[in-house]
């Protein structure tokens, strides 16, 4: 999990652009080949997988070879079904992410600003977080139907909490002296929001967005697992039912790429908006 999930210890100054693992300094002799290390390891894994598949220890529908998977992936890419189902899932993911993140941001902002709202809502929001989404997914399908609405809601619920927590922390952590400054300049509430609260909370809020972005894919797939007639989650279910293991693996890899792309998009947004965080670092 991303270290930004629980930003309690995250200070104003910390750089959310820092990745999960600390980067080690390699001796210069190896550093030149540093970029090769990860691809080399990946290739090794692929070779091991290929070896296991070819060894005949497992049937092909249990452990298909990487080649089988690639072949199946090209097949569904060629007949247009990959694009069609990916588009369905992507639409659910993006709608759910947008709704969940927007709702969490404004609610988090209200909670951070008002004790009354905080005391009134926080217990329920924490309880909501404790509800296993997978377990209530069937309920949501019953209520909102097997179409896109139920998936969007599941997705929005899943991305809601990390964004909410980060927004509350981000807005609450604003130095009171800066609030005093804005007050002494007779800033309006709207000016205070644009010129102080939003930029000050942004590093932590964007940390939440990165976590939410990856979770959103899970949300849509969970919904499609329970009941759907299209989407990547549906394809996995379909592949499992027909022992089409290469299809299942191909879709899992597609979903992973989708989640990574969304994370990358959020990270890029962060990089774009938080140039100032790189100042004075070296």
């Amino acid at each position: 999990m991303d270290s930004n999930t629980y930003p309690a210890g995250q200070r104003h100054r910390s750089r959310p652009t820092t990745d999960t693992l600390p980067t080690l300094r390699l001796p210069p002799r190896i550093a030149r080949w540093q970029w090769l290390l990860a691809p080399a390891f990946g290739l090794a894994l692929l070779l091991i997988w290929e070896a296991v598949a070819r060894s005949g220890l497992y049937a092909a529908f249990i452990v298909p070879s990487p080649g089988d998977v690639a072949h199946r992936w090209r097949e569904i890419a060629a007949d247009g079904s990959l694009v069609r189902h990916t588009a369905v899932t992507l639409r659910e993911v993006l709608t759910g992410l947008l709704i969940g993140v927007a709702a969490a941001f404004w609610l988090g902002y209200l909670i951070a600003k008002s004790r009354v709202v905080a005391y009134m809502l926080m217990p329920y929001l924490i309880a909501l977080q404790a509800v296993p989404i997978v377990a209530i997914a069937p309920l949501l399908i019953i209520w909102f139907g097997p179409g896109i609405a139920s998936k969007v809601i599941i997705c929005a619920l899943l991305v809601f909490f990390p964004m909410l927590v980060n927004t509350v922390l981000g807005v609450r952590n604003i130095p009171p002296e800066l609030r005093d400054l804005m007050a002494s300049l007779e800033a309006t509430p709207l000016q205070t929001f644009w010129h102080l609260e939003l930029p000050a909370a942004l590093p932590i809020v964007l940390g939440g967005l990165k976590v939410s972005a990856t979770l959103s894919v899970i949300g849509a797939v969970v919904g499609e697992f329970v009941s759907a007639s299209e989407g990547l989650g549906y394809l996995i279910n379909f592949g499992r039912g027909t022992y089409d293991t290469p299809l299942v693996i191909a879709i899992v890899l597609t979903l992973t790429a989708l989640a990574l792309a969304l994370y990358g998009l959020a990270a890029w947004l962060e990089h774009l908006l938080l140039v100032w965080q790189d100042a004075g670092q070296s």
Partner: protein, 255 residues
Amino acid sequence: MQDQTILAAEHISHTYTGPSGDVHALNDVSLRLSRESFVCLVGPSGCGKSTLLRILAGLLRPLAGCVRLDSQVITRAQRRIGLVFQQANLMPWRTVSGNLSLPLELAQVPASEQDDRTRAMLELTGLHGFADAYPAELSGGMAQRVAIGRALIHDPEVLLLDEPFGSLDALTREQMSEELLHIWARHRKTVLMVTHSIPEAVLLADRVLVMSPRPGRLVDDVAIPLPRPRHLDTMHRPDFVALTEHLRRQIRAAR
């Protein structure tokens, strides 16, 4: 005398109520700041100086008493009163010029005038080469100069400074005091400045107010009749030394 006063505190008392009990911070403090005067406030740590400044700025409502700006009672912070805090308190996401222009942006000053005034303030604070630097790239003294520039840029009539040089080393601090004297001589603001340094207070001020330990009361009001303009060399004058000695005795007696 009456119309000379720009900012006045009348019978201010304040008590903080908190989970660890009540803190009686200020007890019946009254003071008057004459237009264009430079007043310093000294007193032991924790006696309520920052509290008094926050009340004068309109950021904190006192439990008793009131603050008058031009004889009008104020109940909230005023743009006419500029603030400088102990820490530079800059916005880390804004560049130096962005921090300087903040008060102008909030007051919706036209963009071309913002640019002109920001450039002039960069000049005045000696930061021309650093217009596009972020606060994280500045030294403590430079950051504090930006903070002072930000407090001056929208031309407030009153300037309240809470230990503005508190976090600086002694050398930078002296240099900044002298710069502040220059700025004040040129712009003629009404200044109230909290400081822990008696020589600094004597060098800068027309009057030095002495506060007692908590609950803070004003126990002395010492006029500083040293001639102006003053420089760091002024600190070697025998009357300067005598005044610092006198103040030191007063503060000790107040404990």
